[in-house]
């Protein structure tokens, strides 16, 4: 007799109230590389599927207790990806048709011909495989599309913001020099006895401080746009950077702050430590910004983990915290300029925007994943080689 080819690596659930039947089928399928998990009825099958998700279920339609059709409906409800092959009594076509209407992959009538069953199991298994890879591809496309939408929006916002910053810088210079001129006049000896001199000085102080504040914001905004308009920052500052060393340097700068809040910072690095082709000063700026955010979002006893990974082409720096997390609606806007959830005076909403600008310019990507109440992970991906 010709040996049939073994079918590899499929797990199925066989549901039948007849123990002898299960044992025989399990043994014969097992020889062909199909691992069989067994359940004597619908209830047990559902329980088992909760513990061990299996893709293909082969199930008798006539069982005491929960019927095969009911069990099928409940399986499809809870595990929509799973495929169910029903076994019907001899020549009972109506049962099989009812089963397919309720979502069964197909039906086979007893007595079951083994090759036929294996073919059906393989078909169901392949269908699930195709469905999974299509879904993965769709998810991947959706992610890429979203990233592109975000990037386009950031560039558009940046262009607008820089236009505004330019327009504001000129009047800002006028305000600064007008106030500066008044200060110079106040400093003249003949002005020494001017009435309400203190009030004038106070007001000039406030003008000066406000101009400085506005100046910082316009400079940050224009820095991002400037970095976008040039291919790479300063090519002479690009070099192979030991990421572990740089990460440790960044940690040493924020360690005391983290310690005072009772937060631990850990480094997990691949060996040998990955390196990236980048500008260490700019990358340090990004790391410090991410760490500051994480420390701010994380409560006492929390943990920040920086993981370093590398492949031939890319190096990844993941900054993960156990902080408050970011809500879904904020996640999409987090890299926008001026977007902040912090109070007035606590944040300008420029940190992540500037970081995004720097990483893009360094030829990399920055992305975020987060779950409210569980924490956030920022991932920087950088090229390994020039």
């Amino acid at each position: 007799m010709e040996e049939a080819k073994p079918v590899h690596d499929i797990d199925i659930l066989l549901v039948d109230d007849e123990a002898d039947f299960r044992v025989v089928i399990a043994k014969r399928l097992g020889r062909r590389g199909i691992r069989v998990h067994e359940a004597p009825g619908g209830e047990e099958a559902l329980r088992l599927l909760e513990e061990t998700p299996l893709d293909v279920v082969v199930m008798d339609i006539k069982m005491p207790g929960m019927s095969g059709i009911d069990a099928l409906r409940r399986i499809k409800e809870r595990h929509p990806v799973a495929e169910v092959i029903l076994l019907t009594g001899h020549a009972n076509t109506q049962d099989g048709v009812d089963g397919i209407k309720s979502g069964a992959f197909d039906y086979l009538s007893k007595p079951v011909e083994l090759e036929h069953l294996i073919r059906k199991i393989t078909q169901a298994h392949n269908k699930i495989g195709r469905f999974r890879s299509a879904r993965q591809e769709a998810e991947f496309r959706e992610r890429v599309k979203q990233q592109m939408v975000v990037a386009e929006r950031l560039v558009a916002l940046g262009t607008m913001a820089s236009g505004v910053a330019h327009e504001i810088n000129n009047p800002l210079a006028i305000i600064q020099d007008a106030a500066g001129w008044l200060r110079q006049i106040l400093a003249k000896p003949e002005m020494e006895d001017m009435p309400r001199r203190g009030d004038f000085e106070k007001a000039l102080d406030r003008i000066h401080n406000a101009v400085q504040r506005a100046r910082v914001v316009t400079h940050q905004l224009l820095q991002v746009v400037r970095t976008q308009s040039t291919e790479l920052s300063d090519p002479t500052r690009m070099r192979a950077v030991d990421l572990k060393q740089l990460v440790e340097e960044s940690i040493s700068l924020v360690e005391s702050e983290a310690e005072s809040k009772g937060i631990k910072i850990l480094v997990e690095s691949a060996e040998p430590p990955p390196s990236a082709w980048t500008d260490p000063y700019q990358l340090l700026q990004v790391l410090l910004n991410l760490l500051a955010n994480s420390i701010q979002a994380t409560g006492a006893g929390g943990r920040i983990t920086i993981a370093l990974r590398a492949s031939l082409e890319e190096a990844k720096v993941e900054v993960n915290d156990t902080g408050s997390g970011i809500s879904k609606e904020n996640l999409n806007r987090i890299f926008e300029p001026f977007f902040t959830t912090k109070g007035v005076g606590e944040g300008t909403g420029m940190g992540l925007y500037v970081s995004w600008g720097i990483v893009s310019k360094l030829g990399g990507l920055i992305a975020v994943e987060s779950q409210v109440g569980q924490g956030s992970t920022f991932t920087i991906t950088l090229p390994v080689k020039r």
Binding site: N169, L172, I174, W181, R226, S229
Partner: protein
């Protein structure tokens, strides 16, 4: 304060800015002339002795770099400080290559401006000195 008496020319299309900055400079005893375009700047240079030009990069018509090139062609000893917005630093750097003495980012700190102004003046004096020495050596 000016180390030696000298003439400054301030060039920017933003009239209020030119007015305020020149008032500040005059307040510390500087002698300042104003121009509101590259063309006007060149006209003043043609008939007045100027030591240092403070020149905005972004102007309608003839821009700062074009103006700079013309200045250096006709008056190579005049020192130029480029005044730039943060977004046009590359342009200002280009100006440095064309012979500008230094650049300042708007809104610039007044004390920084004075410092650069003094350095520019000093360089011009040193250049003149060298030329005088060279001429004396030739005779």
């Amino acid at each position: 304060m000016a180390e030696t008496p000298s003439q400054i020319l301030l060039v920017d299309d933003e009239a209020d800015f030119v007015e305020m900055l020149s008032l500040r400079l005059k307040e510390i005893g500087e002698s300042v002339l104003s121009a509101f375009s590259g063309g006007e700047c060149l006209k003043i240079l043609a008939k007045t002795d100027i030591d240092v030009v403070i020149l905005d990069v972004k102007m309608p018509g003839m821009n700062g770099v074009e103006t700079l090139a013309e200045i250096k062609k006709a008056h190579p000893l005049v020192e130029v400080i480029m005044l730039t917005g943060h977004g046009t630093i590359e342009t200002a750097l280009e100006g440095m290559k064309l012979g500008a003495y230094d650049l300042l980012i708007k809104p610039a700190d007044f004390h920084e401006l004075i410092e650069k102004l003094n350095n520019a003046r000093r360089r011009k004096q040193e250049q003149l000195e060298r030329i005088r020495n060279a001429q004396a050596a030739l005779q």
